[in-house]
């Protein structure tokens, strides 16, 4: 970031006087006044952003210490919501377990897939590259058409998978894929992976295209012998900023699994097999109206997402060292 106002602006406005001693507060006030146009330009966005993103996070944290059902005035209960959540709520434990399973499987897998496919696509000719980018990116923007997977996993013999397996003779009877706890989690993971090549995938494709090609020649001189070394010592470090960005997007998405689970397995799913922290949050927030309790769930989810992000970023710094 270039600090234009420190160099050009004072000269423009004839303010570049000698070293006048001003108090820090007066200086701050002067800077604020000088930047009033910037604040004004940012204000519409920032007001909405604070109103619907920042303040809600703070309010949610605050509410998590209250009993609040939207009708009575909130009643302060201290850590009660948290202790009930962590010690007395068996369904939350299932939700937490499922969410971690989703995150641990879909998070890294989708992240690696985003990179791997971007890397392979990058070597294709421009036309094929554009086509393959579309192929991989299309599912994540095609709206909510993931319900087509309902047809694939449909429980009767019209379901694609059942029809196929019965035709080749593996099954005699159709399987109720989405009503059987054994399969729900796996199916949601598959569909989630199908949807997960989104923004970070594009960022990786773009990142790969901006890697300085002369680095590879220099690397070959310095004794890089194979493609894997090239990848680890040149390509990955060059696109570390995009890798960071991609990690944030993938982690956040993999902890927030809910829509797919609800669309495929129902809400609540059989024996809570597809229940996640977000569906638990919806359960208390929109069905039972226990807002304080739901806020405690939200706060824990927020903490988990933030913590994982910080950890991952630390790990990513080690790439190519």
């Amino acid at each position: 970031m270039v600090q234009i106002h420190n160099t050009a602006e004072p000269a423009l406005h004839g303010l570049a006087g000698g070293p006048v001693k001003v108090s820090r507060r007066a200086q701050l006030w002067k800077d604020i006044k000088k930047s009033k146009h910037y604040y004004f330009m940012m204000s519409p966005y920032m007001i909405i952003f604070f109103l619907f993103t920042v303040i809600p996070v703070v309010v949610s944290f605050g509410l998590s210490f209250f009993y609040f059902n939207m009708l009575e005035t909130p009643r302060f209960v201290g850590w009660e919501n948290y202790s009930r959540l962590l010690l007395g709520d068996d369904v939350f434990m299932i939700a937490l377990k499922n969410t971690f399973l989703f995150a641990v499987i879909t998070g890294p897998l989708s992240y690696i897939a985003c990179f791997l496919f971007a890397w392979l696509i990058n070597e294709l000719s421009p036309f094929v590259r554009a086509l393959m980018t579309l192929v991989f990116y299309a599912p994540s923007i095609s709206g909510n058409v993931f319900f087509i997977w309902l047809i694939v996993f449909s429980g009767d013999s019209y379901g694609y998978l059942n029809g196929f397996l019965m035709k080749i003779g593996v099954l005699l009877e159709p399987i109720q894929w989405l009503q059987n706890e054994k399969y729900i989690l796996a199916i949601v993971i598959i569909v989630q992976l199908w949807l997960s090549l989104g923004t970070s995938f594009l960022a990786f494709i773009a990142g790969l295209q901006t890697v300085d090609q002369t680095l590879f020649e220099a690397g070959a001189m310095d004794g890089i012998r194979n493609r894997w070394q090239e990848l680890w010592f040149i390509t990955l470090p060059s696109m570390r900023p995009q890798l960071m960005f991609g990690a944030v997007m993938q982690i956040t998405a993999s902890f927030a699994v809910a829509e797919v689970s609800i669309a495929l397995a129902g809400f609540p799913s059989v024996n809570y097999a597809g229940h996640t922290v977000v569906t638990h949050l919806m359960d208390y927030g929109t069905l039972r109206f226990e807002m304080g309790y739901a806020s405690a769930i939200a706060t824990i989810l927020f903490g988990i997402m933030l913590g994982t992000n910080m950890m991952t970023q630390k790990l990513l710094r080690k790439v190519g060292e």
Binding site: S125, P139, I141, Q242, T286, M291, L301
Partner: protein
């Protein structure tokens, strides 16, 4: 260039270190296999929309359509024509939300990104840090207080409940700011010396230079709003969206399967077409999407 040479170009010899032929073959096999996994459900959706009823319920199920028909689309018009909220109403609602939400977002995010990208002033670092931090959690976290704020503002059951929060989607500001940092400072200074004020510089110098970023924000925002069902904020039937209409059609049961496929095709086509148009601009913007450590 002919299609043939384009495809062959895909396997052009690498200028750099070579992979062994077997590894290359395996990797491209992998790309092909996963590529078809990604695209088959979409091709299936397209085919389904043109299947006559007897082909939709054939056993064993058939992937491709044999006798394509437009019946599903005409049925859609008929069914929706009979419901007490006409289909065009759902389309109009969705278009309103999508167009206002997308255009407003691009404008507001750009106006906020320009000072953050180009100037340093009290609070600028902190504001940007908060925006980056907010990339790290999903909107579900804020759903409940959001609802409370909405009801305080009296926006429940209005389109504003969906449009206004989407205007300040944090990813948009982030990408726009990263992209704007590339604009040469000399360009801005020159405009100022020529007597342009901040707003004019923003509108006449900066905005025309960040067109690729506009398209990127559009391709991120548009599908999100286009596919919104808004169910938690909007209760009046005549304010509901296309996605909601789709779920109604699907709940209509087995006889509606064809119509459902037709609506699904409509829902999915628009964002994909938009992406095809804006692809190169999107990639260009994403190149600046990186995060500093």
């Amino acid at each position: 260039m002919t299609l043939y040479s384009r495809v062959i170009g895909a396997f052009r010899p690498q200028k750099r270190l070579n992979r062994s032929f077997t590894v290359s073959l395996m990797l491209f096999g992998l790309l092909l296999a996963f590529g078809s996994f990604m695209v088959l459900p979409l091709i299936y959706t397209v085919n389904n929309a043109f299947k006559p009823l007897d082909e939709l319920f054939i056993f064993p199920p058939r992937f491709l359509v044999r006798n394509p028909t437009l019946e599903n689309f005409t049925d859609l018009v008929v069914i929706m024509g009979n419901s007490w909220v006409p289909f065009t109403r759902y389309v109009a609602n969705t278009l309103l939300i999508t167009l206002v939400g997308t255009a407003g977002h691009i404008l507001l995010a750009s106006a906020a990104a320009y000072p953050l990208a180009k100037f340093k002033f009290p609070g600028s670092n902190m504001l940007f840090r908060i925006v980056v931090l907010s990339l790290m959690f999903s909107p579900h976290v804020t759903a409940i207080p959001n609802y409370l704020v909405m009801s305080q503002l009296g926006w429940i059951n209005t389109q504003a409940a969906i449009i206004v929060p989407s205007l300040a989607f944090s990813l948009g500001l982030f990408l726009m700011k990263q992209f704007m940092e590339q604009i040469p400072d000399a360009l801005i200074e020159a405009a100022k010396i020529d007597g342009a004020n901040e707003y004019r510089v923003f509108w006449q110098i900066v905005m025309p230079n960040v067109k690729p970023a506009w398209l990127t924000l559009m391709i991120l925002q548009f599908p999100a709003l286009w596919g919104t069902d808004g169910g938690s904020f909007i209760y009046s039937e005549n304010l509901k969206t296309l996605h909601y209409a789709l779920s109604q059609v699907i709940q209509g049961g087995i006889a509606r399967a064809g119509v459902g496929a037709a609506v699904a095709l409509l829902l999915m086509t628009v964002p994909i077409l938009l992406f095809i148009i804006s692809q190169s601009s999107v990639i260009q913007t994403m190149a600046t999407s990186g995060m500093k450590e």
